[in-house]
């Protein structure tokens, strides 16, 4: 076959990415991701054994600040865009089995 990635792997990746893809999308992506990955294999033409990975193109260092409380977004503003909220909290369906109902 020579496919770089099969449908089963695409389904697994979709699960990792939390994307509930349709049958059509899974089929489409299997083909497209295979050809994109095949193209990316081009990178193996280069010998990089002695090359350091470069995560950032410029020298960046961790930035620290004093451990003091500064004003942040107030609760109402933070919740303004929430699809569901209750009593100053984001509201979600029940997460743990056997816990109190959501």
């Amino acid at each position: 076959m020579g496919q770089k990635i099969d449908r089963e792997q695409v389904e697994k990746v979709a699960k990792l990415a939390r994307l509930d893809l349709s049958d059509g999308e899974l089929t489409e992506f299997t083909g497209q991701l295979s050809s994109i990955l095949e193209y990316i294999e081009k990178l193996n033409e280069i010998d990089t054994d002695s090359v350091e990975p470069l995560a950032h193109c410029l020298p960046v260092h961790n930035v620290f600040r004093e451990d003091v409380v500064i004003p942040s977004l107030d609760v109402a503003a933070a919740l303004k865009n929430a699809p569901a909220s209750f009593d100053n909290h984001f509201k979600v369906p029940k997460v743990l089995d056997g816990g109190p109902g959501a």
Binding site: I5, Q9, V10, V13, A14, K15, L16, A17, R18, L19, D20, L21, S22, E25, F29, Q32, L33, S35, I36, L37, Y39, I40, K42, L43, N44, E45, I46, T48, V51, E52, P53, L54, A55, H56, C57, L58, P59, V60, N62, V63, R65, L73, A77, A78, K80, N81, A82, P83, A84, F90, V92, P93, K94, V95
Partner: protein, 486 residues
Amino acid sequence: MHELSIIELKDKIAAGEVKSADAVKSVFERIEKHDPVIGAYISTFKEGALKAALDVDERIAAGETVGALAGVPIAVKDNMCVSTGKTTCASKILENFEAPYDGHVIEKLKEADAIIIGKLNMDEFAMGSSCENSALQQTKNPWDVSTVPGGSSGGAAAAVAARMCFGALGSDTGGSIRQPASFCGVVGLKPTYGRVSRYGLVAYGSSLDQIGPLTTTVSDAALMMNVIAGHDKRDSTSISTDVAPVKDYLDGIDQPLDGLKIAVVPELNAGASQQVKDAIEKGLDVYKGLGAEIVEVAMPNVEYAIATYYVIATAEASSNLARFDGVHYGHRTEKPKDYIEVYSKSRAEGFGTEVKRRIMLGTYALSSGYYDAYYLKALKVRNLIRQDFTNAFEKADCLMMPVSPTTAFKIGEKTDDPLEMYMADIYTIAVNLAGIPGISIPCGFDDGGLPIGLQILTEAFTEDRLLRIARMFEKQTEYNTKMPKL
């Protein structure tokens, strides 16, 4: 009034010759007349803009000191948070999102007394090269409405080209300012990574994203840089002014560079269409006429830039876009059967196809067993690509090349094959991997009357020299004064 540059308009406003309120009214007349066809704006702030303009006019009349962009109507790409109205990223998942704060560049625009008139269309989450990935609307190229405006800042380029704003802010992760600027015949500058704060810019590829101006002149781009460049502690990759001082980019902009050395990359240019190649050649002739010397350099690793970019950018995107969870903000699916479906169905319903494709690719590249083969490998090649640029800049002051292999293509022409669409990013994408600044300036038109852009690149934090080099060309030519017939 619409033919004025930002600098001309702000001078007239400051001198009391033109009222900011009239500039705003005039710009909205153009938007109301032309945007139903062009589709550059996702939202506009007519009432608020007029109010802000009247305030500027009053302060000028009272003799108060006003900011560097006082009274000038400016628009911004819809991935920058503005505390009024919506910030959609042209996505269904953020269709109703109202940002609770202003991004850093928005604060800067407001401090400079610019009038923010609206939010501009883009490819969803800045992923694309044609605005065809916008989930909300298709922006059209003002030079030929059957063609794309480029992307992802296509709305910004189209609005500036159609003079439906005096200048705009876009963002550039792999060419998203320069390529649409080229397609629409305007100036587009991607600053050095870290020069402009990304605070309040919805993240796509965090090690690549950078905000920059789209304008009708090089000097206008310099003025906008004066307003937005600088350190911001809320962006941890914002470069300290101790490391790289912010300059006055207008200072000396009209002064040509003596003994300018320009590097070109023949084997890279070979991939462009004949008409693009001819326009670039003619552009180089203009510089030769000004006494510049052309040197040929090789950049053997740049041909790997597309493969490298689509691993790194999608890996970063898959992580950045994990925040869209149907919980904190954005779309939530109607009837999830459990909490997992809150994530997986909300995201499936909210994201468009290209965004899903890139999240999938990035997730795969980072997943167990593939990380070394793809992500780590790409980071190593990124180092080699950056080295190619370092080597080139040892031989010359700047690099010049096309922005895109072709002029604007037809709407729908490339949507079937994502890889083909990615390939067209060859000239712009390596620049983001290296973090250096780049500009696209108008340098000609093809047989169909579509604009062609010349791309100029310089070393990190030398935007002042980059703008001066660009200005040398602009002074000798009239391409940037041409306007599309609407």
